[in-house]
């Protein structure tokens, strides 16, 4: 083990160095943001950083002027003179009492890091602002050796780094892989066989573009984007704490889907959520959007102290706001100044003060142990989409009724009925209503019982500047506008954070790896210039989300194969350079949607109350106040998309949970990717997937008489969009043979298997034969290839 350990270690170090060189290319100049800040942050900031209470010797290394100041004859950093710099002599000291970082901190600088720091000081100790807060510069794309490969400027930036590393981009993915990729990425569903066929036949250079444009127009696009957004804002159908009762939030989910479909600008989308109620004459959607401020976890437990929970809610909102829009990790500033980033405790409470006008008193007084619970203020509303539909039908009705020629009684009746139903279908939704703001104080060490802290007014974090000053107390609307203000606000940060996340949806990883931390501890992006340009492009386009996605998806880089090569593996094992695409398991909701779509069970209906798929009996037995029983929907809702599943925070549907969907108690910017036995058990045994296999097999059986091999090929094609190889068909035929043998011996077992799920099949059925094919389809639905995006 010892030898193995050291061999591998040496090997890995080699890789690190090679990668480092590869990535930094020929540039020998030390870059503060890339090479120095992370080292200082990791090793020095906890004692010499922003947190005043932990600071040793009064020295700060996170601020240039203080790090370079002469302090009683010694200076930590003397530009150009490592020999005179206390910092350099201390990190190189042989004296255990002198050396920094001190041994008891458990931290130690590597020889490379020491060398880097000295070199940086020697080169002048140039400081720069944290990369995420620097003004982005729109740069001309660099020229590359390969002039053919790039399709747009995104490619040129990527190719430039790839070439510098002595690598080449991967070849284009085969077309079946590509169309599956783009379907899953843009709408979260597999391509129907006809779409695959058209795409394979279309040899024009615009073939992909046509598909992408069509997908961006699909209503399923909004559903796919919502899956991600709802993780960020921690949308759920239940309150989260204690009794975890249902609350009224589903109209907000529909608003999000619709907003992405309408391509609402990201700025407007944000403003409506944070402050729709403060807009002049807000429309229905703008009020529904303010449900954002109410999505946090709340408690309806007997004996909660209002004062304590107001503090908890307040902190929750600050954490979520900063995580969603600033990529900031402000949570720790609730009790002490941030250890690595210049966020202070005062910043934390000043941000909280923006949300102090949200009416909370009603719900704290009127908590109810009922399903749903009451979380006032709630209002019954039609969405703007529904209102438009009502108008449309009304107009159609008028036309029908006024048609002098017509005898449209039947149609008139039908329309009237639809209209009546829709008019009745207003749903309650929690909204934000502003009241006189509560007084917000800094809570010393986060202690809500302590009233000695300073009273604070709404203000943005001090180091990020100021929201434009007006002659009044700032509001949520000012905060929202500040996010998109290119002059006095943080538009560049907002843009970088969002663009990076969108990128990760289409490449599997962000340009900056830490989607949730744009602070000193977050990794410096390998492509800062590209991130800058994308951020500026996004801003200049008027925060046009679809245009951003189109740009990314139509890059050549997006179309690359995701397959590893030995060269890439050796030189860029983490795919920092994006010299290949990524291959990863589909998100939980898509695992479901995919199986339903393949089988033909999928019901593509938009919006509405949340749906309840089959779930193991007794799964909610630990819930109480009130006790509840889960009743799966027995109608078409059973087969709707995953984005609509009832999101029970305390007991998330076990299928979603097994595939790493978050409980949405806090912001999730990147889901985990696991392969647990529990997820295997779901795909093998969850009735939803067994039913999908049953209906898929039934569908295949209806096709004209054909031999096993042909039918097998069709099933395989249906699931993977490609033809099976001979060996694959053989393996599956073996499964078929085994199943036939078993079910022939015990036909009752076949009958039992065919009972799974509510979906009906009609007509003459050979149970043994059908059950045998169900067994084959179960294998197909369990394959990695079926459940991965490549």
């Amino acid at each position: 083990m010892g030898r193995l350990f050291s061999t591998v270690l040496v090997f890995l170090l080699g890789i690190f160095l090679a990668l480092n060189q590869a990535v930094s290319g020929q540039e020998s100049k030390v870059d503060f943001n890339r090479d120095i800040r992370p080292v200082l942050a990791e090793n020095c900031f906890s004692c010499h950083g922003p947190d005043q209470s932990q600071r040793k010797a009064g020295l700060r290394l996170d601020k240039e002027n203080e790090a370079k100041a002469n302090r009683k004859g010694t200076t930590a950093i003397v530009p150009g003179a490592p020999g005179k710099s206390e910092l350099i002599s201390r990190i190189q000291s042989a004296d255990s009492a002198e050396i920094m970082p001190p041994p008891k901190s458990g931290k130690k600088l590597s020889p490379d890091q020491i060398q880097g720091l000295s070199q940086w000081v020697k080169q002048g100790a140039q400081w720069s602002q944290h990369w995420a807060h620097e003004k982005p510069i729109l740069r001309q794309a660099p020229s590359t050796k390969n002039k053919e490969w790039s399709r747009n400027w995104v490619d040129k930036w990527l190719l430039w780094k790839i070439e510098n590393a002595g690598l080449s981009p991967s070849p284009d993915a085969v077309k079946t892989t590509l169309i599956r990729r783009v379907y899953f990425d843009v709408i979260g569903l597999p391509p129907p066989p006809e779409a695959v066929e058209i795409f394979l036949k279309d040899t024009s250079p615009k073939a992909l573009e046509k598909v992408v444009d069509q997908l961006l127009k699909s209503e399923h696009f909004g559903e796919r984007m919502a899956m991600y957004w709802l993780d960020l804002v921690r949308f759920a159908d239940t309150v989260g704490y204690h009794g975890d009762q249902d609350h009224h939030a589903s109209p907000y989910r529909d608003y999000v889907i619709d907003a992405f479909n309408r391509n609402l600008s990201f700025a407007q989308f944000t403003i409506e959520q944070l402050a729709g109620d403060l807009l002049p004459k807000p429309n229905s959607d703008q009020l529904i959007a303010t449900c954002y401020n109410r999505l946090l976890q709340t408690s309806h437990e007997g004996g909660v102290q209002a004062k304590e929970y107001l503090a908890i809610y307040s902190a929750d909102r600050v954490r979520n706001f900063s995580a969603v829009w600033l990529g900031g990790t402000l949570g720790c500033a609730q009790c002490h100044d941030h250890k690595f980033d210049p966020y202070t405790t005062k910043d934390f409470y000043s941000l909280a003060a923006f949300f102090a006008d949200i009416d909370e008193a009603k719900h704290l007084k009127g908590g109810a142990d009922s399903i749903p619970t009451k979380r006032l203020p709630e209002v019954a509303l039609h969405s703007s989409r529904e209102l438009a539909q009502i108008e449309k039908w009304k107009a159609a009705l008028a036309q029908l009724e006024n048609d002098p020629q017509g005898n449209h009684q039947a149609e008139i009746g039908k329309t009237k009925e639809k209209l009546k139903e829709l008019e009745k279908s207003k749903r309650l939704v929690m909204v934000t209503q502003a009241i006189t703001p509560r007084t917000i104080r800094v809570l010393p060490r986060g202690n809500w019982l302590d009233d000695t802290g300073e009273v604070v007014a709404p203000a943005v974090p001090q180091f990020l500047g100021k929201a434009p000053v007006k002659e009044k107390t700032q509001t949520r609307l000012d905060l929202a506008n500040w996010l998109f203000d290119t002059k006095e606000g943080v538009a560049e940060l907002t843009a970088r954070v969002f663009v990076n996340r969108v990128w990760s949806l289409f490449f599997g990883n962000g340009l900056a790896r830490n989607l949730d931390d744009f602070g000193a501890q977050g990794e410096f992006p390998v492509h800062p210039e590209l991130l800058d340009n994308l951020a500026l492009e996004f801003q200049n386009s008027g925060w046009d989300v679809k245009a951003l996605i189109r740009l990314i998806v139509l890059s050549r880089a997006y179309s690359q194969s995701s397959t590893w090569t030995a060269d890439l593996l050796a030189k860029d094992p983490n795919n920092r350079l994006f010299a290949r695409q990524s291959s990863f398991r589909l998100p939980a909701e898509m695992i479901r949607d995919n199986a339903l779509a393949i089988s033909g069970l999928l019901v593509s209906e938009f919006g509405g109350g949340s749906i309840k798929p089959y779930q193991p009996a007794g799964y909610y037995r630990h819930l109480n106040f009130p006790k509840r029983e889960y009743v799966p929907h027995a109608d078409a809702r059973q087969w709707r998309r995953g984005v609509y599943i009832h999101w029970q925070r305390q007991f998330l549907h076990p299928m979603l949970k097994a595939f790493d969907a978050p409980t949405r108690e806090e912001c999730t910017a990147k889901r985990q990717q696991s392969n647990t036995p529990l997820s295997a058990l779901v795909l093998m045994n969850d009735p939803t997937f067994v039913e999908a296999a049953r209906i898929m097999a039934f569908g295949a059986s209806k096709e004209s008489a054909e031999n096993d091999e042909v039918r097998m090929q069709k099933c395989f094609l249906r699931v993977t969009s490609r033809n099976p190889e001979k060996k694959e068909t053989e393996v599956l035929l073996k499964v078929l043979a085994q199943a036939r043998q078993e079910f022939r011996a015990q036909p009752a077992l076949a009958e039992k298997l065919l009972q799974t799920g509510l979906a009906k099949i009609t007509g003459q059925i050979d149970s043994v034969e059908l059950a045998s094919w169900v067994s084959v389809c179960r294998v197909l639905l369990n394959l990695a290839e079926t459940n991965f995006r490549n």
Partner: protein, 473 residues
């Protein structure tokens, strides 16, 4: 080497960054690959940090908050003060739950106390079986916590913070130390009810938080289906299911020759473990073959879903190498009618806990199993009357006990003030309990850390935490 690099990269992409921990996991994978074995959950290299006293933990979680004044904390002064106003010097400025705005009166003990065993530990008459093992347990009477409502208090007890989304202690332990069985998860949760209207308990309490999801607690049920989705679909024989697993493995492996995705390798392993679990879990959960004598010792009946059955199952899990076993009994929230509900809870749990300790001893497991008993907080010395006399939530003092590996037996640790309001001597914070538990498992609590959102996070957090050396042998 390609394969190993791919594995490493996969780890990096798992969101845990490049820390020593990910590197370690990779190296472990290397070692396993060389030896040709693939244990499902090995621990981190370097862990345990020093020789472990305990190999596993059985945590008897008395959910709802049992009263220390009717279990272990005997306060003669309370009797004198019974019914009199609680002096404000104790309560002023302190957090309070359901008694907000009410007159605070002292509630004397609602049960008799006696000293037991050679050690002379004080135990109430509610716990006659625990009294019998007074010389085998260590009672901590000076526990304190920070959260006064059930939900956040559970979260605090299990994760060290009231904020949702952090890993639970069982996840931390299995993450650091791995698992000793190839057929079962490393962290198993069992629940039972009985007592006052049971408080809810969220799956957050056994979640892995930002640790890899394979370290989350898995809930087994002693009644009904033994675990979610563990049964084959109706009509599918074990043989046919095996056919499915084999076909998936062959097809995935074949495809992976082309796509070379390391994720698919771990997926293959997951299918194997899933299939083994389908046999192992029902076998484990079926206690009907245990000798009648053993069942009687616990008071367990097969498939009755009782705490007694769960205690027996805990021993069976321990025997099979499961690292962290947590048993919740929900029913200890006694705001009113305390005597009646305390009676029910004690009847359901007292004897099984005793049997558990004896059975562990009998099977030679007590020496390396740490047993912990306790709730998320305690109860007030003040009266609350929802129905008959009861007590409200209390966080400034409560009692727990520990036994087994490395724990001194027949010892009481810590004291409370004369009315039992504040822990006054040798105060043990929840964090100290966590540090002590990890210490017994051979883990330095400051070293079991994971970088998440720029911070080095650990079970014991950033505030000071100390190993309670005084209770260790």
């Amino acid at each position: 080497m390609n394969r190993s690099l791919a594995r490493r990269t996969f780890l990096n992409q798992s969101g845990l960054g490049l820390g020593s921990v990910a590197l370690g996991e990779f190296l472990q994978g290397q070692a396993n690959a060389q030896s040709g074995k693939s244990p499902p959950q090995k621990g981190l290299p370097g862990f345990p940090n020093y020789p472990a006293r305990a190999k596993r933990v059985i945590y008897l979680y008395m959910s709802g908050g049992p009263s220390q004044f009717e279990t272990f904390d005997y306060k003669p002064k309370m009797k004198e003060m019974d019914g009199k106003p609680m002096p404000e010097s104790f309560t002023k400025g302190q957090p309070i739950a359901q008694l907000q705005g009410q007159a605070l009166k002292v509630q004397g003990h609602l049960a008799g106390f006696k000293q037991y065993g050679k050690s002379g530990q004080w135990v109430s008459e509610f716990l006659p079986w625990t009294a019998k093992m007074a010389d085998e347990i260590c009672v901590i009477r000076s526990m304190v916590t920070e959260q006064i409502n059930h939900d956040p208090a559970h979260t605090f007890m299990n994760t060290g913070t009231g904020i949702s989304g952090r890993p639970s202690m069982g996840s931390w332990v299995t993450y650091g130390l791995g698992n000793e069985t190839e057929n079962l998860p490393g962290f198993v949760v069992l629940t039972s009810v009985g007592g006052r209207n049971p408080q809810p308990i969220s799956s957050r309490q056994w979640d892995a938080g930002f640790l890899p999801p394979k370290f989350q607690g898995v809930e087994f049920n002693s009644t009904g289906e033994p675990a979610s989705y563990v049964a084959n679909p109706p009509g599918v024989s074990p043989n046919l299911q095996k056919g499915l697993v084999d076909a998936v493995r062959v097809l995935d492996a074949k495809r992976n020759e082309q796509v070379k995705n390391p994720d698919i390798e771990s997926r293959l392993a997951a299918y194997e473990l899933a299939f083994r679990m389908q046999t192992a879990v029902p076998e484990l959960m079926d206690i009907s073959k245990e000798p009648q004598k053993v069942l009687e010792m616990y008071g367990a009946k097969p498939a009755d879903g009782s705490f007694a059955s769960n205690c027996l199952l805990a021993v069976r899990l321990a025997e099979r190498g499961v690292r962290f076993i947590q048993l919740y009994h929900r029913g200890w929230d006694h705001h009113g009618d305390l005597v009646r509900y305390m009676g029910i809870c004690s009847d359901l749990t007292d004897r099984p806990a005793f049997a558990l300790i004896q059975d562990l001893k009998r099977r030679g497991l007590l020496d390396d199993t740490l047993v912990i008993w306790g709730g998320e907080f305690g109860r007030t010395p003040m009266f609350q009357g929802k129905g008959g006399p009861g007590r409200d939530h209390h966080i400034k003092a409560f009692s727990m006990w520990m036994a087994g590996a490395g724990i001194k037996s027949g010892v009481s640790h810590g004291e409370t003030d004369e009315l039992g309001y504040h822990a006054s001597k040798d105060v043990v914070h929840v964090r100290d309990m966590h540090a002590t538990m990890l210490h017994l498992l051979g883990v330095d609590h400051t070293r079991l850390a994971v970088k998440y959102q720029g911070l080095n996070l650990r079970l014991t957090g950033v505030e000071p935490a100390r190993v309670v050396k005084e209770i260790l042998t």
